[in-house]
Symmetry: C2
Subunit: 240 residues, 2 copies
């Protein structure tokens, strides 16, 4: 499994991904699921969930086509919408190719992708791209998307996130959401790859790998757990 979350807020974008892949509980590995493309006039961030063979192929094809400057490619599209269309088409291309090769393709989880970023000339945008290659865009009403094992970590986001949440608070929220997921599903695992992107910065340096002994992550995990327990203790007990 996988858990990735991305948020498109007034101040910019927030991305967080786990790094565990598994083919059964006895076949676990670490792969980065957050890919950053940075060029003068654009920062693009791709997160992927689902079959690793599919998601790696998509990234490889997108990168190869940027290097060889074959059209269309992600360095040449002029809007995030066009970038999402291109990622969707590449996903569809890989799914079609691999479906033909697999007898039991219907049982394969080809997965989903999140694509966010900014291309000069427009505001930051965030898209959720389906295996069929089509996609939806985050809006003020729903400023975040999750892919993979999303349920355990959804309630906290729904309770605290708004468009006006700062990027630093939003990353804290994303990390708490992942912590709830880590505790409940063994197939989601550390380390995490996270990125903050500030609107109009065209700066991709806001990346960090969060490991088991990351002091900030340890602090907020402990404070959150204690805060929940304190809140719970103050609730009035049930009476008939």
């Amino acid at each position: 499994m996988t858990y990735c979350v991305a948020m498109c807020l007034s101040d910019g974008l927030v991305f967080a991904s786990d790094s565990r892949t598994n083919a059964g509980v006895d076949h676990i590995a670490t792969f980065k699921k957050l890919h950053v493309i940075h060029h003068d006039d654009r920062v693009l961030v791709l997160q992927s969930a689902g079959n690793l063979a599919t998601t790696q192929s998509i990234v490889s094809l997108l990168e190869t086509r940027m290097r060889s400057n074959s059209e269309p490619n992600l360095l040449q599209v002029s809007t995030l919408y066009d970038a999402a269309t291109l990622v969707g088409a590449t996903l569809r291309e890989v799914v079609d190719r691999d479906s033909r090769m697999q007898q039991h393709a219907s049982t394969t989880n080809f997965g989903c992708n999140l694509l966010g970023g900014q291309i000069a000339g427009e505001a930051p945008r965030l898209f959720h791209i389906y295996p069929e290659g089509n996609f939806i865009e985050a809006t003020r009403d729903t400023p975040y998307f999750q892919i993979g094992e999303s349920k355990y970590g959804k309630p906290i986001i729904d309770r605290v996130l708004t468009m006006e949440t700062t990027l630093e608070q939003a990353m804290c929220c994303a990390l708490i959401s992942i912590d709830s997921t880590l505790r409940s599903n063994l197939s989601v695992g550390l380390p995490l790859d996270v990125m903050l992107y500030r609107t109009d910065s065209f700066d991709a340096s806001g990346q960090r790998r969060v490991t088991e002994d990351d002091p900030y992550f340890a602090t907020i995990r402990k404070a959150w757990s204690e805060g929940l327990q304190n809140t719970f203790r103050q609730l009035p007990p049930f009476s008939l």
Copy 2:
């Protein structure tokens, strides 16, 4: 969908169920999913998730066989283990019957049951019964079970519940767990049916229906939401 949770603690048992059934979002109805059997020397509580035709049939067959005193029946078994075996066999009987009648049986969710209670001569026990008719029992390590849409409401239980939690606190925890689920999945809905059973009481009066305007439920929903938001505001924001 459905969400039911049951807990087997030092002081006794706690049960909470939603009441929504649906066949598509445009076909929603309310059915009680918590069934109590009370006789001099026993209190048994059955909760069911999955196909309503299956779960209603199981309850009907179990009740009919108690009334007609055909053996074995739930008033005549001498342990909770035997009661779980009987519920499992009845579930298997209905699943086998209905599978034969349905061409697309493989796509039907026959669901699971939780059976908890106490029969004089032994301590309270709690079982999770699978569609195959076999079952597992709650232990000190894992003192609770969930059936149906369990993921949204699991993190809170994992963080606060222990064997020593009082029944009144545990019910508060179960209601918070259901609240998190109600917010995220439209197919889980009010009213709720809840029951507290105190060890050795053989008293089934601890039942209540919790509706939208229940003052206690409204109080803890609000306090929990505010407490989470306060806790979140006190967390240090992320920095690179």
